[in-house]
Amino acid sequence: MTSITINGKQHSLSSIDPTMPLLWALRDHAGIQGVKYGCGVGQCGACTVWLDGFAVRSCQLTIGALEGRAVTTVEGLAGATLHPVQQAWIDHDVAQCGYCQAGQIMSAAALLERNPSPTDDEIEAAMAGNLCRCGTYVRIKSAIKAASGAMTASTLFYNAMEAEQASA
């Protein structure tokens, strides 16, 4: 049995093959299907999730090695409102078929969590592992820039709030 946290909730995955990739444990045993199967060999990025806050390929991690770890999928990305990256994906009408986009969004959100104002080169480097056959890269890049703007603005706002509270 493996006990892991998925989108903030504890899951005990019993009678499960410890060599099963996280991808299939999520899809077939935890009812999490936003994570998609594309290649199974870490080439396409459709299965991207966060492991303890870092973007990883869930097809390349075995469930048996994840005891006590925390997984976030696209279903767990939004708080009270959508994550700025999700909102930007809607506003920029990024998706065509949409199959790769959960993975794209998780990679983009992980990038912006660490680097809220990435350069074009940094965006390309961070997103190079996520394939899109529909060819939506043009819009993905625009959406990341828009989300970056939104996140930078909110970070500045909260920083200012914290500074104000500290001085009060």
């Binding site: 299939w24 999490i32 936003g34 994570v35 060999v41 199959y99 480097a125 529909c134 060819g135 890269y137």
Partner: protein
């Protein structure tokens, strides 16, 4: 008029079940009232438009959504004529039923084939709501106007929301077609605007259901292992050992159907032989198949070798071997004899795979004579009849649930994975989720056919393109007919434009299944034709743009009224727009080049310019400009997305995508050796949509064919090297 308790189906659309009272309007013009009780029953729904008690309007898109945006654009057409408030419209997939006609996604046809029907659906519903309001208020119908899901009577100040009129409207007889007025384009409020995809939020939050996501209680998982050499038959396997593995429920051989596996999407229910592994979950079956040992009978298997196919094709072209004539106009021999300059060049293309991100996966429940299918097929319209034959059940007992597809590009036109799952489900007596591995998807595709063109051009002393010869070497299973997607089809250009044209054909034997791959034939032929036009321009020392415009000429519409036909005014407008946008003729940095191409396919007149720079064999594609005329714009955002995506997909394919065949088996197995373009290689894409006002046509395909020749022409202008083979990696080039 249908009876009030007309039951409805579509149980996989939760939002629809919220309907408590609605106006249902069918393509045959009938309407029905529905209650909540009937909505929960299963049966038949004749509806495109449903006005809900909360004031929202549900509009059904009848064609499969595979990323081309039709579940947004088709409802937009209805909403425009209905004057529904778009923010309150819910787009839903129509159930798969005969009354919805040709429910398929292919040929960029969804918009043009549904344009009249969807407008009439919206306009007729609007007319009925207006008549109900006129009766209720005792005012003449002609004094009423509509907007934002309301009927308004200006002089009295009466305003009624559609939800408050639908009950009365549903009692009115359906108006004659002549009494239903469609809007003029200048009255459009919605069409032509940028509207976000109706599924944008579902996709961004991971809640949208794709074919791979279908689940039902009691289902089991299955994997199906076929012979790597196409057409090999499973004789025996270590089935007992596999059945003993953890999580495995059963393992057995399916005999399959003898090949060749032609692309017969309407009538075929053929499957290839293989071993089914059934287990409690996907991973159990994937793991178990690694221990499978199968003895294959290869006597009927394909012996194809892609290198040998190519060598034979190029030899046939070099020798001028002609087996059939495709097209002839004028006197080609005289044109060439009298030419001031002639040119002769051979272009080649390879097998490619669809490689859509969602591998084939389907859920089929076929344990009894009542069958259910959950799929992201592009041809749901053909599933029922073929499954009925395969399983010996009546078509009426088969329900098909259409789910969103993770990319189509032609791959989901054939339904063989559904037939595999059905046979496995029948054998195990449970609903079966069949999941193809990526490796299965790449090995058992209906590939884009390899095709080879030897083009010859004759230019007269006054610089006119007067003669055109095209000898095609086409893959053929029987040596008499080209395989699907190979060969050539008579295009208006050059056939109806250049005075002297001969297109002839030679066959190369190939058993490898081929099918429709985004913009079939055009996707390879455009590369040859539009590269060769640039070569001719260079040979005669003319500016490529001027030479191309001159070659296209000004005959106007080759076949008046036919959207698929060349309209030289539309062609010229796109070429002029794109060259203006790209700054054709401007001074470029060292090592840079601009390249131009125009192509008409799937009724879309599209011109593209690429700016590249070349260092050694490394090509950087900096910018691509697109000018597109696909008639009246429906959803501008969706259209622009298709144009941008086609550029990226075209570049992706031309760069290094190649399926090689050895001993009848596909060599590449996954994205590691079959690379898709990645974001760092992706260019900036600038699109300009020419809203010409012609009838709208589709945009899923026509922007792809011009991309490869535009880039190759730019490479020539940058470094002087002419690329005549796709993918360009075969000539040592890399897109960086």
């Amino acid at each position: 008029m249908n009876k009030p308790n007309n039951p409805i189906a579509n149980t996989d659309r939760r939002d629809f079940l919220k309907v408590s009272l609605g106006l249902a309007l069918s393509s045959s013009g009938s309407i029905s009232m529905m209650s909540l009780a009937s909505a929960e029953a299963s049966g038949t729904l004749n509806a495109y438009v449903n006005i809900n008690v909360d004031g929202s309007v549900t509009i059904y898109g009848p064609n499969p959504e595979v990323g081309q945006g039709v579940n947004t654009s088709l409802p937009m057409i209805v909403a425009e004529e209905l004057d529904a408030k778009w923010e309150e419209v819910r787009c839903a997939a129509a159930p798969v039923q005969q009354q919805y006609g040709m429910q398929f996604a292919g040929g960029s046809l969804s918009i043009p084939m549904r344009w009249d029907e969807m407008r009439k659906m919206g306009a007729t519903a609007r007319e009925m709501l207006c008549r109900a309001a006129a009766k209720q208020w005792g005012v003449p119908r002609d004094e009423l106007t509509t907007a934002d899901s309301t009927v308004q009577h200006r002089s009295s100040g009466n305003v009624a929301h559609y939800k408050d009129l639908v009950a009365a409207a549903s009692l009115i007889s359906v108006p004659d077609e002549a009494d239903v007025r469609l809007k003029q384009p200048e009255q459009y409020r919605l069409l032509g605007k940028r509207i976000s995809n109706a599924s944008a939020e579902g996709i961004a939050t991971g809640t949208e259901i794709f074919g791979i996501d279908a689940r039902v209680d009691g289902m089991v998982s299955a994997s199906f292992v076929k012979c790597p050499s196409i057409g090999g038959v499973a004789k025996s396997a270590n089935l007992e050992a596999v059945k003993a593995l953890p999580g495995i429920i059963d393992a057995f051989i399916l005999d399959g159907t003898p090949g060749p596996y032609n692309f017969n999407i309407r009538e075929s229910h053929a499957i290839q032989s293989g071993v089914a592994v059934v287990g409690k979950d996907t991973w159990s079956t994937f793991k178990a198949r690694e221990t499978l040992e199968i003895d294959w009978d290869l006597s009927a298997a394909s012996q194809d070798d892609s290198d040998a196919i190519e060598a034979e094709a190029l030899a046939a072209l070099a020798a001028g071997k002609v087996e059939t004539e495709i097209e002839r106009a004028g006197d080609v021999e005289t044109a060439f004899a009298n030419a001031a300059i002639t040119a002769d060049a051979t272009y080649s293309t390879d097998f490619v795979s669809h490689a859509q991100l969602e591998p084939q996966g389907v859920l089929v429940s076929a344990a009894t004579s009542t069958v259910e299918v959950w799929t992201s097929s592009q041809t749901p319209v053909f599933i029922r009849s073929n499954l009925a034959k395969l399983l010996d059940v009546t078509p009426g007992n088969i329900t098909v649930h259409q789910l969103r597809g993770g990319g189509g590009f032609g791959r989901r036109l054939s339904n063989e994975y559904i037939f595999e799952a059905a046979l496995i489900s029948r054998r195990v007596g449970a609903p079966v989720k069949l999941q193809w591995k990526r490796e299965d998807d790449m090995a058992f595709d209906y590939f884009r056919a390899p095709t080879y063109y030897r083009l010859q051009g004759a230019v007269s002393t006054d610089g006119q393109l007067t003669g055109w010869k095209n000898l095609v070497a086409a893959a053929s299973a029987d040596g008499e007919n080209a395989n699907y997607g190979a060969s050539y089809r008579p295009y208006d250009f050059p056939g109806k434009v250049i005075p002297n044209v001969a297109v002839e054909q030679s066959f190369v034997r190939s058993q490898t299944p081929t099918g429709a791959w985004r913009a079939p034939i055009s996707n390879v032929y455009a590369f040859a034709e539009q590269s060769f036009i640039a070569e001719l321009a260079d040979t005669v020392g003319q500016d490529h743009r001027d030479f191309l415009l001159n070659a296209i000429g000004d005959k106007g519409w080759i076949k008046e009224g036919d959207m698929a036909s060349l309209n030289t005014a539309r062609a010229r407008a796109t070429i002029e727009a794109v060259t203006k946008a790209a700054g054709w003729g401007r001074e470029l940095p060292d090592g840079h080049g601009l390249g131009l191409a125009f192509f008409l396919s799937h009724s879309g007149h599209i011109a593209e310019v690429a700016e590249v720079s070349v260092e050694g064999k490394n090509i950087t594609v900096h910018d691509v400009w697109v000018a597109a005329d696909v008639g009246q714009v429906v959803n501008l955002s969706g259209l622009e997305n298709q144009l941008q995506g086609s550029v990226v997909d075209g570049l992706s394919t031309m760069a290094a995508q190649r399926i090689s065949i050895k001993n009848g088996a596909v060599v590449q197995s996954n994205y590691d050796r079959y690379p898709l373009l990645r974001m760092p290689q992706s260019p900036r894409v600038h699109v300009e949509v020419l809203n010409s006002g012609f009838r709208p046509t589709g945009a899923g395909e026509p922007a792809l064919p011009p991309l490869a020749p535009a880039v190759c022409n730019a490479v020539f202008n940058a470094c002087g090297e002419r690329i005549r083979a796709l993918p360009i990696s075969k000539e040592g080039f890399t897109i960086v």
